[in-house]
């Protein structure tokens, strides 16, 4: 238990650094009109999320839960959370909403913040950009404008740096989702790309002064050896997994594009046919002069254009690929640093 606290204690600094980086990213993104500009998380929430995963999540399985807190100006303060219970298909009569309401009412009784401000989810190698996440986050944001989703990456955390990120859907995406029209034209009109689907909100982990004091004290006591995960040079496994996942996504992307391609070809083919028919009709009309021209709507009714494939999936895949790439980039950059460091150390020793 002690070591656990130690771990979290050390992450406080690293997370603040990531938060800073994210802040910069946000600035570049230029989505300044968002309702929330900063997320402030209580240490308790972080520990609770980690504990939840430790107890219930394993492998590719994800754990989810509800975030509680309140909005102060443009800052979202998350002060508490509770997990969704794991439930299987067997108990289908389990009512999740009912459970949440019950839980929040109970928390209110003990005078804890009970405002629903979002949810959290664990992830497996950063593969969280999915349709399911998009849908639930959309419904959250639709109901409670300020809500965020916290993504916790346990694998990265195990390697020595806490990985916790807060995401929100961009207003553009919200609009698209509201209309539920994912046709190529609609997305084009909305001018949305995979880069502007999610916006990352900077995170600050805040502890009470008492806890800070305790942490300082603990840090003094802990030996350096306890932090060795950070210096691990073994990289191949993690990298390999990431590459594998990336490849799968690329395959999916490829398939998607092929699908889109066939769609395009079909539409163009049909348009050509339509033209021919129209021309024939005109000829007919010329031959039998005096007759009123036939309405052209019949044609479009007769020849239904092929169903355009929903482009949302490919957008999501692209987003996912982007996440993977960033993960890999980040990971390799850190590892290179470590390798150079190791080399230097070796030279020094020699």
């Amino acid at each position: 238990m002690a070591s656990r606290k130690e771990g979290t204690g050390s992450t406080a600094t690293s997370s603040s650094s990531t938060a800073g980086a994210a802040g910069k990213g946000k600035g570049k993104g230029g989505s300044g009109d968002s309702a929330v500009k900063q997320v402030q998380i209580d240490g308790l929430v972080v520990l609770k999320i980690i504990k939840h995963y430790q107890e219930e999540g394993q492998g590719t399985e994800v754990v989810q839960g509800v975030l509680l807190g309140l909005v102060v100006e443009d800052r979202l303060e998350i002060t508490n959370c509770f997990p969704f219970p794991q439930h299987t298909e067997d108990d289908a009569d389990f009512d999740e909403v009912q459970y949440q309401m019950e839980m929040m009412r109970s928390l209110r009784h003990v005078n804890i913040d009970h405002l629903h401000v979002g949810w959290y989810q664990s992830t497996y190698y950063g593969s969280f950009v999915t349709r399911a996440l998009l849908d639930s986050q959309f419904s959250y944001q639709h109901a409670i404008e300020e809500s965020v989703v916290l993504i916790y990456d346990p694998i990265k955390t195990a390697q020595g740096s806490l990985s916790l990120k807060a995401y929100r859907l961009t207003p553009k995406l919200m609009e698209v989702c509201k209309e539920k029209d994912f046709s190529p034209e609609a997305l084009k009109k909305a001018n949305i790309t995979f880069e502007y689907m999610f916006e990352e909100v900077p995170i600050v982990i805040k502890n009470s002064h008492l806890i800070n004091v305790l942490m300082w004290e603990l840090e003094k006591k802990s030996a350096v050896a306890d932090k060795h995960e950070l210096l691990s040079l073994a990289s191949s496994n993690h990298l390999g997994k990431n590459l594998q996942l990336l490849m799968d996504r690329v395959d999916e992307m490829s398939q998607d594009i092929v699908k889109y391609n066939t769609y395009m070809r079909n539409t163009s083919k049909q348009q050509q046919q339509k033209h021919q028919q129209r021309r024939q009709q005109e000829n007919m009309q010329r031959q039998s002069r005096g007759e009123p021209p036939l309405p052209e709507e019949d044609l479009s009714k007769l020849f239904k254009p092929p169903q355009p494939p929903a482009r949302m999936d490919s957008l999501l895949i692209a987003g996912q690929i982007n996440t993977y790439c960033q993960n890999i980039k980040e990971f390799t950059a850190q590892n290179l640093g470590k390798l150079f460091m190791a080399q230097a150390l070796q030279e020094y020793n020699n």
């Binding site: 191949s236 990298l239 990336l246 690329v250 490829s254 594009i257």
Partner: protein
């Protein structure tokens, strides 16, 4: 049997009559379907003619009956119709009539009809009363019959001169015939025959009297009954041939002229005798031409008539001659195939006949002929193709064929052939060579078929099966004898057929003697022993070679040659002559066109391929073994493809007919190839191929499976939640594969070769130990390869000595394996000769590098796809590349026109 009772009950006679009609046709059809019965053609044709005659005459009498009825009610229209039909029917019966003479009843109806019509014509009053149709019909009919009767004038006048006589004669005949019939009744039910014989005379007379009473009653009945009665008499006429027909006439006459009673007949009996004799003679002339020249000849024959019907009665002082016996034989055979015939009794009768013939020294020709017929009857015993012979019948059949062969061998002057016509048969003239119709080859082929059927229908795990299997030797012996016989006398075609039979009984047997001889190389000490062994019989290999080569050279039907080739290959493969077997298979080009062959040949082909694969495996040629077995094993229907059982799965898909056909195709159990052995051989050879391959291409995204089935087994093994020690053969192979993947040859070895596997598989090979040593060696080699593939990235260098210790292979072998791998670029390494080590080059990409390469490839395709989408938007399909091509084309065009433009286009780029 029932038709012999017809005289007793009228209604029954009708039904049996119609039954007869129904039956005759299918029977004829049956014979058409059984080409194997060719040997009995002679009897067949005769029988068919007789039944046809019966049929025709019956038709005629039926028509006549209706005409007479119509005459009675003065329905001339009906008369006309029927008369026309009668004319047609008579036309159909023409051929028979030509042979037998114009039937008397036919003449009579013609005469009567003419008289009747004239009478009507004269009766002006009646004519006036007649309605228009009838009057018209009357005039037409009168004209027609006048014209028609001109052809029969002589017959009619003779009839008119003496109607009484002929009628009486017939009536008299009827009495005797009925007596005969009663006797016949006794004679046929052979079981009761002996007992009845003693009582026969009294019983007969009683019956006879009773029957006469019946007939009297009938004749006194009202006119309505007459219809029925004539029916009964006509049914009599089918049962008897010549005489029967006359009986019908007679009885009818009785009715027509009720005044003709018994007393009158008795009085006239003497006078009639002569006429009857004359008639008899006429009817029998055909059969007894040879003996006809003797004056008193037919006197004896007449006595023989009842005797012929009762084989036992031959002894009663009558001289048994060929003619009598043959006649009897024909009579027995006539009954064949008819509905009421008791087949068992028939066989018994025939056997009695043989005995009599033998006792009276009638010569071998007759005996051979009867034997042929006995065997044919034995085959005939079961009307159904699906059912098989009973053991006792089978034993009888074998004995009979053996005896027949004995006779044929003892008398080289007997010629047997299916092409010998009945007329040209020579059964007893000792001066000339005897000629008998019948084909020994078809009999033997049929026998072989029956044997197969018996084996198919016996439970293969019972003692009974073993008992039946003992007959196989006898079957083989018979085939061998026939073969020897045919080699002397048969045509090449027949020889080919019998050779094929011989081959089919040889190819699947492992020749242990030859095997033993091979194992003990000729030495001085064992020479005498060897000679002895050689005397026992030629090697089956030599035999097969001889037989097959003859077939290859002489056979003209493709099927026999194909079968012979396949059997030859099978035999080679069975005796581990892999290269001969393979070469023969490749040279025959059977693989290309076997799918056009009929199912039994395809089954044989499949069996051959499997045996070939197993042979290759024994030789250690895993790849060949795998390829040969792949087709059979991959379908998952090995059982069905080899004809060793029906699949339950497809049971719903086929109907009963198909199932029966498929059942008939099944290979008897003693020819089965062990399916577990087959699968094991396949899986082990797949393992030896696949595991090193998998190890070599572990990171290759595009590697293909060598054997799907093997992978399936591996996956099944992986899916097990709890892995216990292997139980079945498959589990053993899977466990061994896993061990081999790690390069652990000792574990692999212990999984493949152990007590269980020995019992299940390896001991089934004739040279089990040799196979096992081969297998161990293969496992060692392939494990070494797998080890090098899997762990080469871990080593910088590895000493060959270590490897040879690890895999217990000698150094040169290790050296050769590694060299081979290096040459094939499977292993990136080089050999360091002085230190005897393998130095790895480490050029194999790491896992990450491999992944990166794959990713790059995928991204490439992604970009390409994306480009296409872009092209769509641009409107030109093919995009950049297409443009370039067009440019080149333009270039060419410009070049043809002139130089300066070319420069222009170049600058454009």
């Amino acid at each position: 049997m029932s038709r012999f009772f017809t005289t007793g009950s009228d209604s029954e006679s009708e039904s049996s009559l119609s039954g007869e009609e129904l039956v005759t046709k299918p029977v004829g059809g049956n014979y058409g379907k059984q080409p194997l019965l060719l040997s009995e053609d002679e009897e067949d044709t005769k029988r068919v003619v007789r039944s046809a005659k019966d049929k025709r005459f019956e038709e005629l009498t039926n028509l006549i009956r209706t005409i007479r009825n119509a005459m009675k009610i003065r329905d001339v229209t009906k008369c006309l119709e029927e008369f026309e039909l009668l004319g047609k029917a008579y036309g159909k019966a023409k051929s028979i009539v030509d042979k037998e003479g114009v039937p008397r009843f036919y003449i009579r109806i013609l005469a009567d009809l003419e008289d009747y019509l004239n009478e009507l014509w004269e009766d002006k009053e009646g004519k006036k009363k007649m309605n228009k149709n009838n009057a018209k019909a009357l005039s037409t009919l009168r004209q027609k019959i006048r014209k028609y009767n001109r052809d029969f004038e002589s017959h009619i006048t003779s009839y008119k001169q003496n109607p009484e006589q002929s009628a009486d004669e017939d009536a008299e005949k009827n009495e005797e015939d009925s007596e005969d019939e009663d006797e016949d009744e006794d004679g046929v039910s052979a079981a009761t025959f002996l007992k009845k014989k003693s009582e026969a005379p009294s019983g007969e007379s009683r019956k006879f009297l009773k029957k006469m009473d019946d007939e009297d009653e009938d004749s006194e009945d009202s006119e309505d009954d007459e219809d029925w009665d004539t029916g009964s008499t006509s049914s009599d006429s089918d049962s008897e041939e010549e005489e029967g027909k006359q009986t019908a006439l007679a009885s009818r006459f009785l009715k027509k002229a009720p005044t003709t009673d018994e007393d009158k007949k008795a009085a006239e009996k003497k006078r009639e005798d002569k006429a009857k004799k004359k008639h008899d003679r006429k009817s029998k002339r055909l059969d007894e031409e040879e003996e006809d020249n003797e004056g008193g000849e037919w006197e004896r024959v007449r006595g023989g008539v009842p005797l012929v019907k009762k084989p036992k009665m031959f002894a009663k002082g009558t001289e048994i001659t060929h003619a009598v016996v043959i006649k009897k034989l024909n009579e027995i055979l006539q009954a064949r195939g008819k509905k009421g015939t008791d087949r068992a009794a028939q066989i018994e009768l025939l056997q009695l006949l043989v005995q009599i013939a033998a006792e009276n020294n009638l010569g071998e020709g007759v005996i051979v002929k009867i034997k042929f017929n006995i065997i044919a009857s034995l085959y005939d015993y079961n009307p159904n193709l699906a059912t098989y012979m009973k053991p006792e019948m089978w034993g009888k059949c074998l004995d009979c064929i053996n005896e027949l062969m004995d006779i044929l061998f003892a008398n080289p002057n007997i010629f047997v052939g299916e092409n010998i016509l009945e007329e040209s048969e020579n059964l007893h003239n000792a001066d000339q060579p005897l000629r008998v119709r019948g084909c020994i080859l078809t009999l033997v082929e049929r026998m072989d078929e029956e044997f197969t059927k018996i084996m198919q229908n016996t439970d293969p795990h019972s003692q009974e099966y073993v008992e039946h299997l003992k007959d196989e030797a006898q079957v083989c012996a018979i085939i061998e004898r026939v073969q020897r016989y045919l080699e002397e006398k048969g045509t090449t075609e027949e020889v080919c057929r019998i050779y094929l039979l011989r081959i089919l009984h040889t190819y699947y047997k492992f020749d242990y003697k030859a095997h033993q001889r091979q194992l003990t190389p000729p030495e001085g000490s064992s020479k005498s022993e060897q000679d002895q062994a050689e005397n026992e019989g030629e090697d089956s290999a030599v035999l097969m070679e001889r037989l097959c080569k003859y077939i290859y050279a002489k056979d003209r039907t493709d099927r026999i040659r194909t079968c012979a080739i396949l059997c030859h290959i099978y035999h080679h493969a069975l005796h581990s002559r892999w290269y001969q077997a393979r070469d023969l298979m490749l040279m025959s080009h059977l693989q290309d066109n076997i799918q056009h062959a009929d199912p039994p040949v395809q089954i044989l082909y499949n069996r051959t391929m499997v045996q070939l694969g197993i042979c290759a495996f024994r030789q250690g040629l895993t790849k060949d073994a795998h390829n040969a077995l792949l087709d059979i094993q991959s379908s998952g229907r090995a059982k069905e493809l080899l004809g060793q059982g029906l699949l339950l799965r497809s049971l719903q898909e086929r109907n009963q007919e198909q199932e029966k056909v498929e059942r008939r195709r099944q290979v008897p159990f003693h020819l089965h190839i062990n399916l577990e052995l087959l699968e094991c051989v396949y899986l082990v050879s797949a393992m030896l191929l696949e595991i090193p391959y998998m190890a070599a291409h572990e990171s290759d995204a595009r590697r293909r499976m060598i054997s799907k089935q093997f992978h399936h087994q591996l996956r099944v093994g992986e899916r097990q939640p709890l892995l216990g020690p292997p139980e079945s053969m498959r589990e053993h192979v899977v466990a061994a594969s896993k061990a081999m993947k790690m390069g652990d040859w000792k574990t692999c070895h212990s999984f493949i070769i152990n007590e269980k596997m020995n019992g299940k598989v390896w001991d089934l090979f004739p040279e089990a130990d040799k196979v096992r040593t081969m297998l161990v060696r293969k496992i060692q080699e392939e494990s070494l390869r797998t080890y090098l593939f899997t762990y080469s990235s871990v080593y910088d260098s590895i000493s060959m000595e270590t490897l040879s210790d690890m895999f217990e292979l000698d150094l040169p072998t290790v050296h050769s394996i590694i060299s081979k791998m290096i040459i094939n670029e499977e292993l990136m390494a080089s050999l360091d000769q002085p230190t005897q080590t393998v130095v790895m080059h480490r050029t194999e990409p790491t896992a990450q590098q491999n992944l990166a390469l794959q990713l790059a490839e995928k991204l490439g395709s992604l970009v390409e796809n994306n480009e296409r989408v872009f092209d769509h938007k641009q409107g030109t399909y093919g995009g950049y590349f297409r443009d370039q091509k067009d440019g080149y084309r333009k270039n060419e065009g410009y070049m043809r026109r002139g130089g300066y433009r070319q420069q222009q286009s170049q600058t454009a780029y």
